[in-house]
Symmetry: C2
Subunit: 199 residues, 2 copies
Amino acid sequence: MRIYGEPVSRLIEELSRLPGIGGKSAQRLAFYIIHLPEERAESLAGAILSAKRNVKYCSVCCSLTDSDPCHICASGKRDGKVIMVVEDPRDMAAYERTGEFHGLYHVLHGAVSPMHGVGPNDLTIAALLKRLQDTPVEEVIIATNPNVEGEATALYIAKILKPTGIKVTRIAHGVPVGGDLEFVDEVTLSRALEGRREI
Amino acid sequence: MRIYGEPVSRLIEELSRLPGIGGKSAQRLAFYIIHLPEERAESLAGAILSAKRNVKYCSVCCSLTDSDPCHICASGKRDGKVIMVVEDPRDMAAYERTGEFHGLYHVLHGAVSPMHGVGPNDLTIAALLKRLQDTPVEEVIIATNPNVEGEATALYIAKILKPTGIKVTRIAHGVPVGGDLEFVDEVTLSRALEGRREI
């Protein structure tokens, strides 16, 4: 559309290709950007380029990082005998925010999903196996998402790790803290009952 | 947050400063951008800079443009005797998409809103008056938004233009086409009744 002129149309088009941003949002964002002070627009563009260029995968845990190994794998304060397997760096960030986990991570970058053509070889499972061979690990905690793909991935990894003799655990399913029981789905309620603990 | 390393954190922060993009969306967008091919990331950053640097205000209609006057004001095919006053370039784009308006536009860049500290002098009303003095105009159509600020702005402009003797009109209020009468608010229904026309 030639209404706004080429630079604006191009910006709107680029923005609307981002996930979750439709035509109207892209237009709103484009106008916002045009009205920004020049240094703010430069800072945004610079952040995009810098993140794209300077971010790589950690050679140990496969997470995204600007230094290799990442600061978690490089930290002397973490317990290298426990590895938590997550699907995504964001899941790792979520657990880091709890401050309750002091081991290391392994990022799969996805979950097994035949529907979407994602097989075990598309994940970093081989890197995990190699890692377990090279370093002494006592427990692998599987923290993939509590959905069909995540569960399948958890079972697959548990099966693969069986011969190594390493303890493999899965994070607990149950009712979310602060929730209202009446709004919790049946599967979660049964899982919570199944996983009940003495108090 | 140092979980992802500086370049990613910086990108998340920059993105979350955009309107309508919260922390979670910013994180999702940042990861999407990191996984883009380098040329796509460069193209996005380039579009931001180019739009910011090359877009200026049209000296005639005050819309955003990369050429001055903008292609609508410069077009020989438009009827310069009719000017439609809109709040925003997006409103202009909306009317352009109808293909039904063949006059020129005037973009106010906002509406009178004492609540938000926007007075008539913050809009391009002076430029509109000058324009009406310099060129022969027969009708000014006020197409500000149908809300309190838009109506106040319409009335203000109509009052200011009274002495010029130029015909000032307001776009019609009524029920939206394709809507369901039962879901239309009372004010719109009364306005639609008021503005009824013989068929």
